[in-house]
Amino acid sequence: MKNFDDFMGMVMLDLPDAERLTLKGHFDTLAQSFAALDDIDTGDTQPLVSVLDLHNIMREDVASKITSRDELLKNSPGGGGGGDGYFHVPAAID
């Protein structure tokens, strides 16, 4: 079974000790309060994913462009890598 630190790792967070302790305290309290759900018998009720009772919302297969590459790369912290058209990151291990 996974613990608080495992879940932190799953969401890519790494807290300094003091902050971690505080957050863990809140987390534990929440987890405990969630146990209240165990007492509720929902029978064969189906889960509700959306409150809307709609289906088959789809779009036609037509290509179109709304922004330019430059506009998108502008927001990139790496600065778009200096004009090669890529987003840049430190080496990923494949």
Partner: protein
Amino acid sequence: MGLSVVLESSIMQKGLPATAGSKMLENFIAPVDATVVTRLEAAGVKISGRVDTSEFGAAGLFEDAAGGTATQGDGSLVFFAKTAQENRPLVLLCNDYTGGVSRAAVDAGLYYIQPSYGTVSRYGLIPSVGSMDQIGIVCENPEDGFEILEIISGYDAKDGVMLPNSSKTYEPQEVSSSFEIDIADMKSDYSGVYKQVMQILCSAELSNNISRYDGIKFGYRAKEYKDLNELYTKSRTEAFGEDVKLAAVTGAMVLYGDNYERYYNKAMCIRRLIKESLEFGEYDVIVSKCPILSRLCGLPSLSVPGGRVYTADALREDVLKAVSKSVINGNTSLTDDKELGGKIKAIRNQKSGE
């Protein structure tokens, strides 16, 4: 027209920073206008400013969601009330899925209109909890609020969870000056777990919606990192606030392995039971102190000064408009602050002369 609005920082205006109150998006420049912005501008409504409410709207998620006050951090709503733009009435658009903003609004003597889910486009709204996000309206004068709602609402093909209805004008039903207040017996009462259901559903969805923030494509990137993993963890740890971090971790937990059935799936089932238990029948509106009922069920609601929340059936904003008129006309029974004891009450709307 004469109306002007202030936008929460989660609503995009092309070329301006859309921060959603987060350090993570400090420098994120919106590439487009949100649909609501396009509609407002087409109707001649002036957009006079942008403000932060809370980071991704998460403040209030981990407070007592069934009642009580939510903290709003910097008291931003009070700030607006004080700086109501150019002596014009205040109207603020924001995404209040926790109900925290509506609670702060009514504390400041303002109204909050939550539209029916699926009537206001989320295109250009920075998402928090997809199954509940809707752009709602803080206003000094509900008549202005409904006017703005009529402008911004209506079908948009760019949002995949919209009702097919186009925008309409809400004609309030005739309202008598006195309302009869009945105590209705609800079929079943899940109020004891509203808070947990909200926290489970919202944590999971918010945790997922913020996974796109990785310091790679846009947004905050840590200054120092030795490898990809540190790029992720440092950027996210440095840029997110406490509530958002708590939502992230909790969201991972409730979806993991067996927890999915025990927490997330259970919460979704209870959500359905809550929705099904709100049978309006001969009643037009439900009165409570609980704004999250409407978020859980996708129903429209009106929060009024004093703290009462009026929830109508889906697409029945006209009923809420009627209620708001009644409140303005001084029907004090509707703004009575008396403790409702956690139970839901219903109001039968009596037409005059009947």
